[in-house]
């Protein structure tokens, strides 16, 4: 098979892109992950829990190792490892930890322990973790039907939860004390959100890899929050940005010899840089999105 090449004819290119079932699967999985990560990442960035998100993403390693050792089906290991880590991270924050210093030290500890557990599990299985590249940097080849359906189910559940708790979660994230006084269950939302983040990260790392998950989890949200002034507009922009990043990078990865992760991070960075340093977007486009 000759390597595919782009023709500058978008219709023909698109046809080529979707000619193979594996690319259709990749687009389906990538789109689901982008929508999910764009929405959940938006809250994560707002709540300043990026470090917690990073720690959850590194749980892909113990997750994959556990999957190998116990012969777990599919991505079950990922979901389990992220779920356990999320429960640990959601522990009641220290009362005297107003700057979040103790919390971040705890997150760092969880990360180290998680990686060590993964290493032990791997040693116990006497195995070699196949597809280490994919684990770390993501892969869009060989996405199975089942994987797409599990992703879709996880995404539907989480987006459904976000629709229900969206406004109180926003209130609790921005202004926890005022929200608590109005009867918003701030603490329950905190725990619930950590679990939601855990599942989202477990889902996303399957496509983006543990190290590059932030290209869809952090960058689109950070970009949107620099530009938009209304929460809804900001969240929609975050999702749209994540979807564009994934689509563009899948197309580029298909037509070029370079890996997917390179393109996702590049496009994510460019989007953020445009929002950060673009003179026009900062003042004018901000107003436009707001209106």
């Amino acid at each position: 098979m000759t390597s595919p090449s782009a023709s500058w004819n978008p219709v023909w290119d698109l046809r080529q892109l979707l000619a193979y079932p594996f690319m259709v699967q990749a687009f389906a999985a990538g789109t689901i992950v982008a929508v999910l990560a764009g929405a959940v990442g938006w809250y994560m960035v707002l709540r300043r829990q990026t470090f917690a998100g990073h720690t959850l993403s590194t749980m892909a390693f113990p997750g994959a190792a556990a999957g190998l050792l116990f012969a777990l089906p599919g991505a079950l290991g990922y979901y389990l490892a992220c779920g356990v880590a999320a429960v640990v991270l959601a522990r009641r924050p220290d009362a005297h930890d107003s700057q979040g210093g103790i919390q971040s030290a705890r997150i760092g500890t969880v990360q180290a322990v998680g990686l060590a557990v993964g290493f032990v599990l791997l040693a116990m299985s006497h195995g070699v973790l196949g597809g280490l590249d994919g684990l770390l940097f993501g892969s869009f080849l060989g996405v199975t039907d089942t994987q797409v359906w599990v992703l879709a189910a996880a995404a539907a559940a989480i987006l459904g939860i976000l629709v229900v708790v969206g406004r109180p979660l926003l209130f609790a994230s921005l202004d926890p004390e005022a929200a608590a006084a109005r009867g918003v269950p701030v603490r329950t939302l905190e725990i619930g959100f950590m679990l939601v983040l855990g599942v989202t990260v477990a889902a996303a790392t399957q496509i983006t890899g543990a190290l590059l998950v932030f290209a869809v989890l952090v960058s689109p949200a950070a970009t949107a929050q620099r530009v938009a002034g209304r929460p809804i507009a900001s969240m929609v922009l975050s999702v749209a940005c994540a979807v564009m990043i994934v689509w563009l990078s899948l197309a580029c990865a298909y037509f070029s010899p370079f890996p997917l992760g390179f393109f996702t991070t590049t496009f994510a960075f460019l989007a953020y840089a445009a929002a950060r340093w673009g003179r026009l977007p900062r003042r004018r486009a901000g107003a436009a999105v707001v209106a």
């Binding site: 406004r167 926003l170 994230s173 005022a178 006084a181 109005r182 620099r226 209304r230 707001v290």
Partner: protein, 286 residues
């Protein structure tokens, strides 16, 4: 869900504590406290750090239970009429709000606690009503001019006006403010006090606020609740704000002077604003 559910019958107190005692862990914060606040009254809670001023607010908000005695807020147990209380927490860092518009911060007070999202087409009318109410409170606090700017880019005084708008947007019957003058310069302190006074008169809202410095409040105050040494009591400004009383309360010499136009000035109080830096950190954990 409407504020009307929390309206008290005319003449009945908005807040009533009887022989109340609070214990946090093993420590009794204050005991046998009796306080009554009438509708539309402007009351300040004064006292040294760690005396339990914020604790008193927490009891009234239903976030802390009494050890003994009784508490009634808007005619019911604390926490029942949450929707009829506007609460302005102390020294908030809403830095996360960043580029979110000031108007959206006010909207949190109106619908932030609602579950679910508004239905796009059916909810249009309600959305218009919401926007109308938000414009109304923005006018009330005189913040219309900068309400569409990013919250994080506003000055401390502008942010405080928007947060007050957030607290009053649901037509509360009681406004509880924890150190609303903190980190504001003198002109802004005076303006915020005037604003709270106006809101109280215009909407017959009782306001209860904790303050470090009593001076900016004196022109507007009706009553003072002072908390010290495990006790709290209440009285009209002229009775409580006296040299003997305050010196005794804070344990240091304090003088209350009367100006030629009859206003009071408190001199030498330990809560002067220039020590702020350290104090908030402890104040937050009272």
């Amino acid at each position: 869900m409407t504020a009307e559910s929390g309206r008290v019958p005319p003449g009945a107190p908005v807040v009533e504590l009887r022989d109340a005692t609070v214990r946090v862990g093993r420590r009794v914060i204050w005991s046998d406290v009796s306080v009554a606040i009438a509708p539309g009254e402007f009351t300040a809670i004064l006292g040294p750090n760690g005396a339990g001023k914020s604790t008193l607010l927490k009891v009234l908000l239903g976030m802390l239970a009494l050890e003994s005695g009784s508490a009634r807020v808007l005619g019911a147990a604390p926490g029942v009429h949450r929707d009829a209380i506007g609460y302005l927490p102390q020294h908030r860092d809403l830095a996360a709000a960043g580029r979110i518009q000031g108007r959206e911060i006010v909207r949190l007070g109106l619908t932030g606690a609602h579950w679910g999202i508004p239905v796009p087409i059916v909810g249009r009318r309600r959305r218009r009503d919401e926007s109308g109410r938000i414009d109304e409170v923005l006018d009330l606090v005189d913040a219309r001019a900068y309400a569409d700017r990013p919250f994080g880019e506003l000055s401390g005084g502008e942010q405080q006006r928007l947060l007050i708008a957030q607290a009053v947007v649901r037509h509360p019957a009681l406004l509880i403010l924890d150190e609303p003058l903190d980190s504001l310069d003198l002109p802004n302190q005076a303006a915020v006090v005037r604003l709270i006074r106006e809101v109280c008169s215009a909407q017959n809202v009782a306001a209860l606020l904790v303050a470090h410095d009593v001076n900016p409040l004196l022109p507007a105050l009706d009553h003072v609740v002072y908390v010290a040494n495990g006790r709290a009591s209440q009285g009209p400004v002229r009775e409580v704000i006296t040299t003997a009383n305050l010196s005794d309360l804070f344990g240091v010499p304090i003088e209350v002077l009367s100006t030629s136009d009859g206003r009071l000035v408190v001199v030498g109080q330990p809560e002067a604003p220039h020590h702020h830096g350290h104090r908030h950190e402890y104040q937050g954990r009272e």
